[in-house]
Amino acid sequence: MAEKVTVASDWLCGCAGCHMSLLDIDERIVDLVQLATLTSTPITDLKHPSKDGVVVGILEGGVNNSANEEVAKTMRERSKILIALGDCAVFGGIPTMRNFAGMDEALRRAYVETESTVDGQVPHHEDIAVMQECRPLDQVVPVDIYLPGCPPSADAIWFVLSELLAGRMPELKGKYLDWH
């Protein structure tokens, strides 16, 4: 039996909607796991890609703080092919709207000025991730496949995965391409 293709996924500054859309492939997941091994995802037991690396890495969400940056770099190192899943990973997504206000004002609004906060403080600690400008994944690591959509449809995700498993680079067109 041919060795199964190892696949890992993770999420950064995302809403998890793209992973939900991935699950929307429904019963096709049975076909998927005949040819691929889902090694680690945020929604299974193992959360981080192993040091041995995987063939296909999938990242949802844009890069928004130093923790996201670390996760993105780790996944890039440990994947042969990296997929940017969803508009946030491809374009930066809705969270980039925070950039228009500027970092200081955004942090102040979130931690100090929120209506239900008393004596708020913008948190700073060596254990906490440092906020950064929200940006698309490819501004931090090289990306091999872009799968836009908010979220991309389950059909589009299935198309990309099945093309890869068949040994082809997927070409997104028509109903699979939607930057909505």
Binding site: A84, D87, V90, F91, G92, G93, I94, T96, M97, N99, F100, E133, C134, R135, P136, D138, Q139, V143, Y146, L147, P148, C150, E171, L172, K173, G174, K175, L177, D178, W179, H180
Partner: protein, 580 residues
């Protein structure tokens, strides 16, 4: 025009000399993608998306501006061309911030209303090749009441500028600065809401992206989710062709019909003001009991009206000129045949003599080489006529304004004369091959007599007041004082505008909205609005134009014909019974 032989993609084609490569391609179903090109505007060649390979040319050429010549060989799908298109799109996306995610025009391939996004899908773009600056938000100008401009989404195609110059002739828009700092501006770079913009919305209609957005209908439905109905605007007697976009029985927005006599052009009254009608809609008949207007059934109301109209003595009737000819005709017949009365007239309206000569059409006005404007204020009262006159002047037409008071078209006129000097005007315009006379009501009979004496090829456009005053005249309804013990007012969706009704012992008002008239009436009947009625109006060109209902009236509001039939029945029934 000589015919020219060219070859596109190996296909031998023939076309008139003077055409562009794009025009010939389109005429032969060869699709060349475009962004800054628009069929109603002069070609510009600024977006570079339509670049094609032309043999013997040093570089790729824009199809929209490149004129054909004998023996030209064009390739529109070569690798070089395809690579160029992708590059142009990638560069367009790298500038400003084209964020599809929260744009009202964005959608999937079949649904999108953004031409830039459509081209990106078509060319298989999955991401930004050259990342734009995702931290900088370009300005949003929301100073106009009905639509706003988001500069982040502008691709500087300048369709808006060309529309403002070439279709409306208002010349409000322009650009400032160069390169990446280029910005579309109004006048001397003032907020749009403070500029000479007249909110005609033509720029909005031609904008390919979400840069110009209609505020009322944003996010309320994409192309395939809305129904579109062609109809005629009822705001003034020009009767512009419109397309009403509706969803779930709500009017989302009104757009100009490119194929109608107005050529897609509308004004603020017809495009924007109509989308938010008054809110105090009357949906049921009402009768006065103990001084208060209370809900009544159609049966009660109709019977009461029939009784009172007959018992109070001769009845009089007034109808709104906003009603279609069919309703006006039925109203007239109800009075003449059922009530035996000739005391009927229009609530308001002004009709100059329409027999001074053959009617002009709006396109003829636009193509005139001489325009004589006698009286009137078209830029205020028949705006699309005013814009058309300005457009003609831009193209070299001689305009002479004859008016005893200054008008807002004086700055565009070659001469402004007093009415007494009309003869000077007609002499000056004598050399015109295509003279159009635009004339107002209320002028002295000698003036109309002089107009009648103009050469036979002269065409005329009467500046009528009141949407269907001309249609009303054709069915025998004019503005006149009427007197009756009973008064039946068919107001439709008209506003009172401070007018008062003649006194009567018993007043019935049929209206769509509450007003001073309904509050003083004895019986009130609900009415349909212009958007809920089908029929015809006669416009300033003397043409009968179809008004097509695009909304369903609230339940229980009868058509005008059904209302009059019911009243007729109630009037005639007792007569029948008495005759037995």
């Amino acid at each position: 025009m000589a015919n020219v032989n060219i070859t596109i993609n190996g296909q031998k084609l023939q076309a008139e000399s003077g055409k562009t490569v794009l025009e010939v391609a389109r005429a032969n179903s060869i699709d060349i993608p475009v962004l800054c090109y628009h069929p109603a505007l002069s070609p510009q060649g600024s977006c570079r998306l339509c670049l094609v390979e032309v043999e013997k040319q040093r570089a790729l050429q824009p199809a929209c501006t490149f004129p054909i010549s004998e023996g030209m060989v064009v390739q529109t799908e070569s690798e070089k061309v395809q690579a160029s298109r992708k590059f142009v799109l990638e560069l367009l996306f790298s500038e400003r911030l084209h964020y599809c995610m929260y744009c009202p025009m964005s959608g999937g391939e079949a649904l999108t209303e953004c031409e830039l996004q459509a081209q990106a899908y078509r060319h298989g773009l999955t991401n930004w090749k050259y990342a734009p600056n995702t931290s900088k938000r370009w300005p949003v100008d929301a100073s106009r009441k009905y639509f706003l401009m988001d500069h982040s989404r502008c691709i500087l195609c300048r369709r808006c500028i060309r529309a403002c110059d070439e279709i409306v002739a208002n010349h409000t828009l322009g650009v400032r600065d160069r390169g990446t700092r280029t910005m579309i501006i109004a006048d001397g770079d003032v907020p749009f809401g403070e500029s000479s913009c007249v909110s005609c919305g033509t720029c909005l209609q031609v904008c390919p992206t979400g840069a110009l957005i209609d505020r009322r209908s944003a996010y309320m439905g994409l192309q395939t989710e809305v129904e579109r109905t062609k109809s005629t605007c009822m705001a003034c007697p020009v009767g512009c062709g419109i397309e009403a976009a509706t969803r779930s029985n709500q009017l989302l927005r009104v757009e100009g019909d490119w194929d109608a006599h107005n050529g897609g052009l509308l004004c603020v009254d017809g495009r924007f003001a109509v989308v938010e009608p008054p809110t105090d809609r009357i949906t049921v008949p009402m009768m006065r009991r103990d001084g208060e207007l209370v809900k009544a059934s159609w049966d009660e109301a109709a019977t009461a009206i029939a009784q009172r109209l007959q018992s109070t003595g001769p009845a009089a009737g007034l109808a709104s000129p906003r009603l279609p000819s069919e309703s006006l005709s039925a109203f007239r017949r109800f009075f003449r045949e059922v009530l035996g009365s000739d005391e009927v007239g229009l609530l308001y309206g002004e009709l100059p003599p329409v027999d001074v000569g053959p009617f002009a059409t709006l396109p003829e006005l636009s193509a005139a080489d001489g325009i004589l404007l006698v009286g009137g204020a078209p830029l205020r009262d028949q705006k699309v006529v005013g814009y058309t006159i300005k457009r003609a002047v831009d193209q070299g037409t001689t305009l002479i304004v004859v008016n005893d008071t200054p008008t807002d078209l004086d700055p565009y006129a070659t001469k402004s004369l007093k009415v007494a000097d009309l003869a000077q005007a007609t002499t000056a315009l004598a050399p015109s091959e295509r003279l159009v006379v635009v004339y107002a009501p209320g002028l002295a009979p000698e003036v109309y007599a002089s107009l009648r004496n103009l050469p036979a090829k002269t065409r005329f456009l009467p500046l009528i007041q009141g949407t269907n005053t001309a249609g009303a005249a054709r069915v025998g309804l004019t503005v006149r004082a009427v007197q009756g013990a009973g008064l039946f007012v068919m107001a439709g969706d008209d506003a009172t505008d401070g007018r008062s009704l003649p006194a009567a012992e018993f007043t019935v008002v049929q209206a769509a909205y509450r007003s001073a008239w309904t509050e003083a009436a004895d019986v009130v009947l609900p009415s349909r609005t212009w958007s809920e009625r089908s029929g015809h109006i006669v416009n300033i060109e003397g043409r009968e134009l179809p008004v097509v209902a695009f909304l369903e009236a609230p339940k229980g509001i009868k058509t005008d014909a059904a209302t009059l039939d019911l009243l007729a029945d109630r009037v005639v029934r007792p007569m029948r019974e008495a005759a037995r």
